[in-house]
Subunit: 303 residues, 2 copies
């Protein structure tokens, strides 16, 4: 079962010929979840061969242009391709009026289900069969949310040979999957852990852009597999980072350490930098498994 | 003095990884004039090393997304780069409200001067020192204008040796530049054409996208150097072209012939085509100097 992140854009406000503005797409079991939608996201989706028909959920962190100006073209393209099924859009409540104004009389042939984000606390905003999505407030110049995508805990599988050995009934199987042991006719108790294979570890990905450093939601994000944290600036620009509601590479690394993340992905590079060597050096001093991402990078978490 | 057209996007409604949506930029004497602004136009401008600071005039043919969804990002980028001088935007009057809604509280630090296009007749919409711009209605599904960019006729230059030979005064020079001959003290008349070098031929470029075939404005566009005419479809799709308010390659070629254009540039390719061989073959049977343009093509007209 796939759990693969594709980075579509890694620039901060100004796109360049090498870095588009913010957008990520997460493939969870071949369903696609788009996080932010900077200008030309639809072209980047095509470039990465993401099938539009498998994209039903879009999450917009905040209403700065570099995070949502691609939504109009993407919706138009969905319409031109004849989409009929609903599109779920999790965003600031103002986005609905903005989209309606831009599209004007070009009303799409599918329903856009708007889900208004809240900015005061963490919320579970989506609950699917295999996946949960949480939003949580970030500290930026405008109302902004981060997102946590987390596979659901699975029940353990029963060892096949035990089913045969003890001729288990459906009722017994359900009880054992939910943690019971098994009492034989002889009165002997077989412990649960002897009967089951532990479930595969749930995988997770968190997206934090744009934000100042804040430890507030570190508990929610403990041991996240892929922690994306913006790192617009290097350490020498920490005052500017604070002033503009952004982070340095050190901020991102400190947050990765605090959450015991498996891997830190940095992004949202200020256009003033020609490369990311300094960002990576500064981050890796604090948190070793840190990398600055490039457009079209992919990260697969196996289980 | 430069007169150079750069093609930024050549796709119709759906952008692909090879063709962005519609945008052209015309360099007239190192001032840049942007015509349409599909998504990611700002990235294409960067790719072609067009200096944003020399771009003061934008012309939007109509309010279908593939012709204007890049305007929001471009305005935001101008703002981030600290632009203070006004930006002139020639477009449908509805665009002002759309832009204000999308930008929200992110009001740019420069004035956007909106110039509403009219859709009932041709109009001179801009009159600069060296250049005139005309709009004229096209036949599409929504109110749409084409644009004609035309260098102004220059006065002839006086041959240097004649200034010395006849010791011409400023008053005489002005009169000769405006067509007078010269009467010497002897009573001899020197004809104007013996005194002057004819001015360089004014160069011109016309943009027609999106439109059905129409001969109505052919007189305005006579002998245009660069005629851009959309050619969304090949001849086999002529019914669909008419139905959707678009043209075939043959339509574009017929219009080029009617206007005695120097060169026909076709664009706005439907995403159904993998290449443009058929379009070029069909057009060239009617009008030989026809080409289907690609993103980042440039065309320079010398004088």
């Amino acid at each position: 079962m796939s759990f693969k992140l594709t980075i579509l854009g890694t620039s901060s406000a100004l796109p360049t010929t090498k870095r588009y503005t913010s957008a990520h797409v997460l493939n969870v079991h071949e369903r696609f979840f788009l996080v932010d939608c900077g200008e030309a996201t639809q072209v980047q989706l095509r470039r990465n061969k993401i099938r539009f028909s498998k994209l039903d959920y879009i999450f917009i962190s905040h209403l700065h242009g570099d995070h949502f100006y691609g939504i109009f073209g993407l919706i138009s393209t969905f319409a031109l391709l004849g989409r009929t099924k609903p599109l779920h859009l999790f965003a600031h409540p103002k986005l609905e009026n903005i989209i309606n104004t831009v599209l004007g009389s070009e009303v799409p042939p599918f329903k856009i289900e708007y889900h208004a984000l809240e900015y005061d606390k963490e919320n579970k905003i989506l609950d699917l069969k295999h996946l949960e999505v949480y939003s949580f407030p970030l500290k930026h110049r405008t109302q902004t949310c981060g997102f946590l995508f987390k596979e659901k805990e699975k029940l353990p599988n029963i060892k096949k040979e035990k089913i045969l050995e003890y001729n288990l009934s459906i009722t017994e199987i359900i009880a054992i999957k939910n943690g019971s042991g098994l009492t034989l006719e002889s009165g002997e108790l077989i412990k649960n852990e002897q009967l089951v294979i532990p479930p595969k570890r749930p995988r997770s990905y968190a997206y934090l852009s744009d934000t100042k450093y804040s430890d507030k939601y570190a508990p929610l994000l403990q041991q996240v597999d892929l922690l994306y944290h913006e790192a617009t600036f290097d350490a020498s620009k920490s005052k500017m980072a604070k002033k503009t509601g952004h982070s340095t590479a050190e901020d991102a690394a400190n947050f990765a350490q605090l959450t015991n993340a498996k891997k830190l992905l940095m992004g949202h590079l200020s256009a003033r930098y020609n490369d990311v060597k300094l960002h990576e050096k500064e981050a890796q001093k604090i948190f070793k498994n840190a990398t600055f991402v490039n457009d079209n990078d992919t990260f697969t978490i196996k289980n």
